[in-house]
Each structure stands twice: as structure tokens, then as C-alpha cells.
């Protein structure tokens, strides 16, 4: 039970990272690996503003605003000019690594490499819940991710905006022909993705101690989740992320705990080799 709950906590964060990543991937057709840095950036910003103001609310608002701006700027200053020159997705991928290093090292320069955490809840005492120990921040992680996921699901399926986003993701040339300005929606997906990254960042800052390189780790986990579920579908990416959480936490039953990080890599390789469309992904080529 404890393992199951830990899996859900981990999966919730991965899912937030994964849907942002998969949304950006679908509309922009390249791997935005700097998404992990957006998560760490958010976590550090949350920490920074919490230290300054001692108010969680201010920290959250500042993070949401600054991260959305960061996401939009990445699109506006780097990716969009490249896309306009019709650069290949490989060039964009390399650019995303550039951004990743830039942000990570920028954070390192400003914050230093010392350990940071937000000590908002004081010493934690777990609550008993069906035989599992749950801390307050963990509960917040699960509930707030769930809220975000439901919100995104409704946004994508029930609104005109979501339908247009899905249309741009499906075929942006056709979307343009149908009067949908796809570049606007490509920028919008960066903003939505970054908002989700900032939620993930704040949640991570609440529960864990921060380090610069955790962004890449979360990126890999989210990416694996997206691949396992199917990177072309947002709900599938969510499910995939929970599977990563489960596999990691249950894997350490059987394997030494140092292998925890390796598990998601192994899953990633297996899926890329044998089921690149993911468990629930749609293979459009099946019928022509």
C-alpha cells in the first residue's frame, strides 16, 4: 500500500511534466527537452520567492507568471525563428538542449549548488491512510495534479480552444487552411506547458530538496511516461506517467534501490524498440 501510494505521488508529478511535454511535442513537432529545466526553474523561483516573502501564495503566483513568460520567450526568441527558417526537428532538438544548459547553469550561477528546500510544513508527520503513511505535501501533490489533469482534459475535449489545439497538433497545415492561425496555438501550447511545469515545480519544491540536475531526471521520467502511453495523446501520456511511477516504486521491491532511476530508462528503451507508438497511442498509418 505504501508503495502504491508512493507510485501515485511520483506518477502525479511525472504526469504534469509529461502532458506539458507531449502537448508541446504534438503542436510543434519537436522534442522540447528544456521542458525539464522549466520545471527546475519553477521550483527555484518558488523557493526564491518563498524565502523572500515567506508567503506560499506569493511564491506560487510569481512562479506561474515567470514560468509562463519563460515558456513564451523560449518559443518567441529561439524556437519560432528557427521554425520560420524551416529548420528540421533535429535542429530544434539541439536548440532545446542549448536552452536546457543555459537555464540550468544560469540557475547554478544565481542560486549556487547548495541544497535548497521550502520548509513550509515544518517537521512532517505522516497520516495513516489504509496502512500507508502519507505526508501533507504528498497529499497536496496528488490532489493538485489531479485537478490540473482534469482541467487539461476538459480544456482539450470540451472547449473550442482545445479542439483547435488538437487540430493544430493533428495537422497544422490543414489547420491554417481551415482558418486556424496555427502559430498562435503553437505559442499557446508553450504557455500551457510551462504553466503545468510551474505547478510541477512548486509541488517538487514543497516536498523535496532542490538540486539543479533534477530537471533532466524529471524530463526523462515525463518523457518515458509520454512514450509508454503514447506521445500523440494527452490522456495516454498521463496513464504512462503513472505506470512509470508504479514501475519505479515496485521495481525496488526486487532490485537494489540504486536501480530506481535505471528502471525508467529500461522501460524507455523497451518501448522505443518494440512499441514506439506507446500503449494507447494512435497509429495513423494503419489505414490510408
Amino acid at each position: 500500500m505504501q508503495l502504491l501510494f508512493n507510485s501515485v505521488v511520483a506518477g502525479s508529478i511525472y504526469a504534469l511534466v509529461a502532458i506539458g511535454f507531449s502537448l508541446i511535442f504534438q503542436t510543434n513537432r519537436f522534442m522540447h527537452f528544456a521542458h525539464g529545466s522549466a520545471v527546475v526553474f519553477s521550483a527555484y523561483i518558488a523557493f526564491h520567492f518563498f524565502s523572500l516573502s515567506n508567503s506560499l501564495l506569493i511564491a506560487i503566483i510569481a512562479t506561474l507568471i515567470l514560468s509562463s513568460i519563460l515558456g513564451y520567450l523560449m518559443h518567441l526568441l529561439i524556437y519560432y525563428p528557427l521554425q520560420k527558417k524551416k529548420s528540421s526537428s533535429v535542429i530544434l532538438l539541439i536548440a532545446s538542449f542549448g536552452i536546457l544548459f543555459l537555464i540550468d547553469n544560469g540557475l547554478l550561477l544565481y542560486f549556487g549548488s547548495g541544497i535548497k528546500n521550502i520548509n513550509y510544513f515544518g517537521p512532517l508527520r505522516g497520516m495513516e491512510f489504509f496502512g500507508a503513511l502519507i505526508t501533507k505535501p504528498q497529499l497536496i501533490i496528488v490532489l493538485s495534479s489531479l485537478l490540473c489533469l482534469i482541467f487539461i482534459y476538459l480544456l482539450m475535449t470540451k472547449t473550442k480552444l482545445g479542439r483547435n489545439l488538437r487540430a493544430v497538433a493533428d495537422n497544422n497545415d490543414l489547420a491554417n487552411i481551415m482558418g486556424i492561425e496555427s502559430k498562435k496555438y503553437m505559442a499557446l501550447s508553450f504557455i500551457i506547458g510551462s504553466v503545468l511545469a510551474s505547478v510541477a515545480g512548486v509541488l517538487i519544491a514543497l516536498e523535496q530538496t532542490l538540486s539543479i540536475n533534477m530537471g533532466t531526471t524529471y524530463m526523462i521520467k515525463g518523457f518515458t511516461g509520454a512514450i509508454i502511453g503514447g506521445v500523440n495523446s494527452v490522456p495516454a501520456s498521463i496513464l504512462g506517467s503513472y505506470i512509470v511511477g508504479l514501475a519505479e516504486n515496485f521495481g525496488v521491491w526486487f532490485l537494489p534501490s540504486q536501480f530506481k532511476e535505471a528502471i525508467s530508462f529500461i522501460l524507455l528503451f523497451l518501448f522505443l524498440l518494440y512499441k514506439p507508438n506507446g500503449l494507447f497511442g494512435i497509429d495513423k498509418s494503419s489505414r490510408k
Partner: protein, 238 residues
């Protein structure tokens, strides 16, 4: 210059690559105009140049006497020009109904959207039965109906069709042409690119024959009897 759509001295292509040379053509209200010609003659490029998908090097395009040469692709549907690209292209991972609703994206009035949806369903009843299916699961003919239906959802004045009969069975080709004729009778002006020269000539009010990026012939239904058309398209080679 009181035509609905005018192409004046258009040179166009893709980047460095030139395709069209000095194209002059027009489309009047309530007219079906066909573009025929061999593969690679530049038929599709004409439609793409209207929609600013290929690169226009010189010349101007006018719609209702307004210069639309530099309009962005996404601005054209709102002006009343709708385009069905080649190859039955739909939003494959969206449902049939969502595909159609995207066609009505620019209409604000909800009742109008509903009326248009019902009109398309009455035109292609199979789309109604399959409205909850994902577009990629439809058969080829159904996908073509969906592409056509989506392009009509916005009440366009002009419909640009790029080879709607491509890859369809003879029965479906016949049905597609019947539908197009029916649509023209509702007052829609249609510019259609077609491989099937015989069918196109019979259906269209006027036809342009394109060769090597230039207009080689232009005429009405009598073009069917033109010796060049007879030898190239209707007699020996095809």
C-alpha cells in the same frame, strides 16, 4: 475585372524552384472551372498559390476586386475561399463531427453552425452515422466526403478542389462529380483540379489546360473536341 477570382501574370514555385509561368485566369460567380493537364504541369500549384502555400514570385491575385496576394493562409477562409487539398486530408485523430465543427470555426452564431452541420449531414448521410468515429477510420470515399463537408461548413463563396476523384472507385468518382455539380447549383463557384480530363470537361463551364506551368488551352465544353485534347487525353495515351 468584375470576376470573382482573378490571377494576373502569376509566376510561382517553391523556394528556388519555379513551377508556374505567367498564369492568367479567372473564375466567375456560379461557375465551375476545371484545371486539367499532365502530372507536374502545376495544377495544384495554382491552388496553392491562391492559398499562399507555394511562393508567388510575381503577379497578383484578386478576390472580389481585393488584392489577396499577400494574405496569410489562415486569413483566406474568412474571406470566403475554401480549399480541399489533394489526398483526402482530414484531422485524422479527431472525430468526424469535430472535423466538421472546425470547418465552422469562424462562424460565431451557434444556430448557424448547427444548421450547416445538418446541411452537410443531409448531403452525406454516412457522416451523420459515423459522426463519433475518428476520421482515420473512415474509408477513402468517406474521407473525401468529410474533407468536402468540412470545406463547406463555413458557407464559402469559392471552393478550390484538388483532385477530389483521386484514388476513388469509378462509382464514387461519379458520385463525387454529381455532388460537385449539385453544389454549383446552390450558387457556389468552384475551381477544380482534375486528372480525369473527360469528366472534368463535361462538368465544367470552362476549362484550362496546363502544360509545363503555362496555360496551353482555354475554352468551354467544346474543348472536348479540340484535336490536342482528343489526342493527348481522350484518345491514345490514357
Amino acid at each position: 475585372m468584375s470576376n470573382l477570382l482573378n490571377l494576373n501574370n502569376i509566376d510561382a514555385g517553391y523556394g528556388e524552384f519555379d513551377v508556374l509561368k505567367n498564369i492568367n485566369m479567372y473564375l466567375d460567380k456560379h461557375e465551375i472551372v476545371a484545371l486539367i493537364g499532365p502530372n507536374g504541369a502545376g495544377k495544384s500549384t495554382i491552388l496553392k498559390s491562391i492559398f499562399n502555400i507555394s511562393d508567388i514570385k510575381s503577379g497578383k491575385i484578386f478576390f472580389e476586386e481585393n488584392d489577396i496576394t499577400n494574405k496569410q493562409t489562415y486569413e483566406l477562409l474568412n474571406l470566403g475561399i475554401s480549399y480541399v487539398p489533394q489526398g483526402r486530408i482530414n484531422f485524422a485523430t479527431l472525430t468526424v463531427k469535430d472535423n466538421l465543427l472546425i470547418g465552422a470555426e469562424l462562424i460565431k452564431d451557434k444556430k448557424k453552425v448547427k444548421d450547416n452541420l445538418n446541411y452537410i449531414y443531409s448531403l452525406f448521410s454516412v457522416l451523420k452515422t459515423k459522426r463519433k468515429h475518428l476520421a482515420y477510420s473512415l474509408s477513402g470515399g468517406e474521407q473525401q466526403m468529410l474533407a468536402l463537408g468540412r470545406a463547406l461548413m463555413d458557407n464559402p463563396k469559392v471552393l478550390l478542389l484538388d483532385e477530389p476523384s483521386l484514388g476513388l472507385s469509378p462509382k464514387l468518382v461519379k458520385e463525387t462529380f454529381e455532388t460537385i455539380t449539385k453544389l454549383a447549383k446552390t450558387g457556389l463557384s468552384i475551381l477544380i483540379v482534375e486528372q480525369n480530363a473527360k469528366q472534368a470537361l463535361r462538368m465544367a463551364d470552362r476549362t484550362y489546360l496546363l502544360e509545363n506551368g503555362q496555360i496551353a488551352l482555354e475554352g468551354n465544353k467544346k474543348l472536348l473536341n479540340h484535336p490536342k485534347i482528343k489526342t493527348i487525353y481522350l484518345g491514345g495515351q490514357i
